[in-house]
């Protein structure tokens, strides 16, 4: 429905939070970042806005009076719904996983860096353009499985292989763009959102680490090096 056209129309963001100060602050931050931002103080108001103006991404508070964010998120599932970033006062890993598993595209805990929230919103929108797997799902390739909510790799023997944040983002970037040669710059962009901490060389390091974790005796080479160009994720993933 709401496919974004970055040049023509600014992406629409809807902030849902019961705290007015947070609502206003976030609207300001998003507007500054070029979003068309609107806000709602609870779930019924959110639905009203969705029905009238629509939204490309919703920043949804979990704990609100009345219906809470998790159940609203669950109801909004299905194709064509806006992307959802949960913003919660419960910041635990377990809460994050629950949020992602019921269909949120991302999950951040309060207090967060507002600029990071904007970056995540952009990333979420970009992923939706690529029609990639939602976090609640898992992606399979070559006997492996990626649990996106838990940021874990599960190997063919059902052993959980924990990944570092960088490895997970890189793997996700590969899985979303399989069988395409990706340059280091592209990978930096997709996986690390041009994070200032990460530079070219780091991509090679991350790739080699990831390769080691994907290596299995007798298994195929999943990430191939294309000399002078970059890397290629050589298998086709399935949801």
């Amino acid at each position: 429905m709401a496919l974004m056209n970055e040049t023509a129309q600014p992406p629409r963001v809807l902030i849902v939070d019961d705290d007015a100060a947070i609502r206003e602050g976030l609207v300001e931050v998003f507007q500054r970042a070029g979003f068309a931002a609107s806000s709602a103080s609870d779930v019924p108001a959110m639905e009203k806005v969705l029905n009238t103006r629509g939204a490309d991404v919703i920043v949804l508070d979990v704990m609100m009076p009345g219906e809470d964010g998790l159940s609203a998120c669950k109801r909004l599932s299905g194709k064509g719904r806006p992307a959802i970033i949960m913003l919660s006062a419960l910041g635990d890993d377990a809460d994050r996983i629950v949020g992602l598993e019921i269909g949120a595209d991302d999950y951040m805990s309060k207090p967060c860096n507002p600029r990071e929230l904007v970056a995540r919103a952009k990333a979420v929108l970009r992923r939706r353009d690529n029609d990639s797997a939602a976090p609640g799902e898992s992606v399979r390739f070559a006997g492996f499985r990626i649990d996106i909510a838990r940021r874990e790799l599960i190997d063919p023997d059902d052993v959980v292989i924990p990944l570092s944040a960088g490895e997970f983002r890189l793997l996700r970037a590969f899985v979303e763009r399989p069988q395409r040669v990706l340059s280091r710059e592209q990978l930096l962009d997709y996986a690390f959102d041009n994070d200032s901490d990460v530079f070219d060389r780091a991509v090679d390091v991350q790739v080699s680490r990831l390769r080691r974790k994907l290596e299995r005796p007798g298994g195929i080479e999943i990430i191939r090096t294309v000399r002078g160009e970059g890397y290629l994720f050589a298998v086709k993933p399935a949801s």
Partner: protein, 625 residues
């Protein structure tokens, strides 16, 4: 978990029973085996030779030594030592002749030889003895009968002589007076001779009778002779010949020979005093001429067989030996040796008895263990159920079954579980409210900081971050419920590597060394938090953290080292308590990291301890592999 140390009651009971039975078994065995052996029995040489003969025959017949008669049998190349004793030589000669071997082909040696007349033996062949006595009696009676017949014959002859005398007297009337007188005198002379013969026969019968009387002594009848062997070793021989031979031979010194006349033989009145023809003892000589009427038939009418004697002196040449060894050469030149000693083969029954006892004990032990297991089974299932409740309060309630006490305990546990659930629900609600109430203002502040000048914004963001970290650690610790997360198989090496990489990606010095892949069962979020806490702690006090992983004895050991000031020995336990911080000044955090880490490790069945390190701190995490 430390509580699972100690053996189940069943094991204790089983072991107790097994130990008790095994001790009894070993004691019994020891008694049988190690009781002081009896001193070797003395044996009569004639029994020994008899045994050996049987063994020799056995060897010749079956070509293997026998294994009987309480002796140890062997076939070997060397003969046993020879014993020089003349007594033994005698025995050897007997044995050699019995085995039809040369004297040098038989050897006997004994460690003890006893030769004494003071030994008496229980008589072995009692029947033979009685038979021989009866034979002697019969022989004596036959002799008496013969004597009577001789007497009758003599009487007959006497009668004939008288007839003759009458004839002669009749003739004498026709002869001269001198002639007559001479005839008469001659006739008288003959009469006297007849009477003498009669008396002699009488005496022979009496002697035979006497011999029969003395059956306490050893009597043997050979032909016409009666041989009596006395206890003092003297041999007496009484020779009784037929009535014609009239040979008597009494050599009975110092013996009170009592004579009585059997009924059948009525002694005729001696015609003339008998002339002594045999040399007899003075006492006998005094008595024989006048057989006293008092000792005739009344007292000893029939010749009763004598009461069988219970004991008798050793036969001639028989001595007692012990610790002996008897050998005889076999036809192939080897020696068959019979030795007196403990014959282990005879202990075979002990081995069988041991087998039976051992088997019984084994069965009993197994039964004891099974019984004890049966007894403790409800307790074990109760323990399992309570354990499940303890790990996860949302688990099924404990089934109320088994003995009364257990049912009561189960009910109490179920009540407790219900309260626990209510408490957890309350706590979760409260924590959510606290988190919301504390983090919402922080978020407001964070947004407000966006409008501040950049240098202030960073400072504020940092302060807000610190407060947020505190809030997060409180909430995390308060809601910490390690049991909630599912356990999966995970690669602990990859987990530690990813934590190290995350820090390294942010330019913090965290290194990992250890296996490439090490799979354990655990909670991936819990373990991530555990090690993240330890490493944050290390980085808080020092600049670097080193993670070292190794597998040891089925456990996984992770050492986290830093180069900070280290942890004093007296605080190594207290730092695991909540809200305890090592150094109050200049440190951040609520002091909950180590407490949470330890509770996660313990929920995994492992532990965290602080060890001595050369510099810095060394925290060791042990997890079951």
């Amino acid at each position: 978990m430390n509580e699972t140390r100690g053996l189940p009651i069943a094991a204790y009971l089983g072991a107790l029973v097994a130990i008790a039975l095994a001790a009894a078994f070993i004691a019994t065995l020891a008694i049988v085996i190690f009781l002081p052996p009896r001193p070797p029995d003395v044996m009569r040489t004639d029994t020994v030779t008899e045994n050996f003969q049987a063994g020799y025959d056995h060897m010749l017949a079956l070509n293997r030594p026998m294994n009987e008669r309480g002796m140890v049998w062997a076939v070997r190349e060397d003969p046993p030592e020879q014993l020089g004793s003349p007594v033994m030589r005698h025995t050897r000669d007997i044995l050699a002749s019995a085995l039809e071997l040369g004297q040098d082909q038989v050897r006997i040696q004994a460690s003890n030889v006893v030769q004494s007349d003071t030994f008496v033996f229980r008589v072995a062949g009692l029947e033979d003895w009685t038979e021989a006595s009866q034979q002697a009696v019969e022989d004596a009676q036959a002799a008496a009968e013969e004597a009577r017949r001789a007497h009758e014959e003599a009487t007959e002859r006497l009668e004939a002589a008288r007839e003759r005398i009458r004839d002669l007297e009749h003739d004498r009337e026709e002869m001269s007076a001198h002639q007559h007188a001479a005839e008469v005198a001659r006739e008288r002379e003959r009469e006297r001779a007849e009477a003498r013969a009669e008396a002699l026969a009488e005496r022979q019968a009496a002697a035979a009778e006497r011999l029969a009387e003395r059956l306490e002594q050893r009597i043997r009848v050979e032909g016409g002779r009666v041989i009596i062997r006395r206890s003092d070793g003297e041999t007496e021989t009484v020779e009784i010949h037929g009535p014609d031979g009239m040979v008597q031979n009494f050599e009975v010194p110092d013996v009170d020979v009592r004579v009585h006349v059997p009924d059948a033989v009525a002694p005729p009145a001696p015609v003339s005093p008998p002339a002594p023809v045999a040399r007899v003892t003075p006492s006998e000589r005094a008595e024989t001429p006048t057989p006293p009427p008092a000792r005739t038939p009344v007292a000893r009418a029939p010749p009763v067989p004598p009461a069988p004697p219970m004991f008798a002196p050793a036969p001639e040449g028989v001595v007692l030996i012990s610790g002996f060894e008897v050998g005889a050469q076999l036809p192939d030149g080897r020696w068959l040796v019979m030795r007196q000693g403990r014959n282990w083969a005879e202990l075979g029954w002990i081995a069988r008895a041991a087998g039976i006892i051992g088997g019984t004990l084994l069965v009993l032990s197994i039964l004891a263990v099974l019984f004890a297991r049966y007894l403790t089974r409800p307790i074990r299932s109760f323990a399992d159920a309570v354990q499940a409740v303890g790990v996860n309060p949302q688990s099924e309630p404990v089934v109320e079954e088994g003995p009364q006490e257990l049912r009561g305990a189960a009910r109490a546990v179920n009540t407790m579980q219900a309260r626990l659930r209510a408490l957890i629900a309350d706590r979760t609600k409260t924590l959510a409210a606290v988190a919301h109430d504390m983090r919402t203002p922080l978020m407001r502040l964070r947004l407000a900081a966006e409008n501040a000048p950049p240098e202030q914004r960073e400072k504020m963001a940092k302060e807000i971050g610190e407060v947020e970290a505190l809030v997060a650690s409180f909430i995390a610790f308060a809601r910490d419920d390690p049991a909630e997360e599912a356990r999966v198989r995970l690669d602990i090496a990859a987990l530690l590597q990813s934590i190290a990489d995350d820090h390294a990606d942010h330019n913090r010095s965290v290194t990992f060394e250890g296996d490439e892949r090490l799979i354990i069962t655990g909670q991936s979020l819990g373990l991530k938090r555990l090690f993240a806490n330890l490493i944050e702690n290390a980085l808080k006090y020092g600049d670097t953290a080193r993670i070292k992983l190794r597998a040891e004895d089925g456990a996984v050991i992770v050492d986290v080292e830093d180069d900070g000031p280290g942890i004093p020995a007296d605080q190594r336990e207290s730092v695991f308590e909540p809200f305890v911080r090592l150094n109050e000044e200049g440190t951040r955090g609520a002091g909950l990291g180590l407490a949470a880490a330890r509770s996660i490790a313990r929920a995994h069945g492992g532990d965290i301890v602080i060890l001595d390190a050369e510099n810095g701190a060394l925290i060791r995490v042990t997890l079951p592999g």
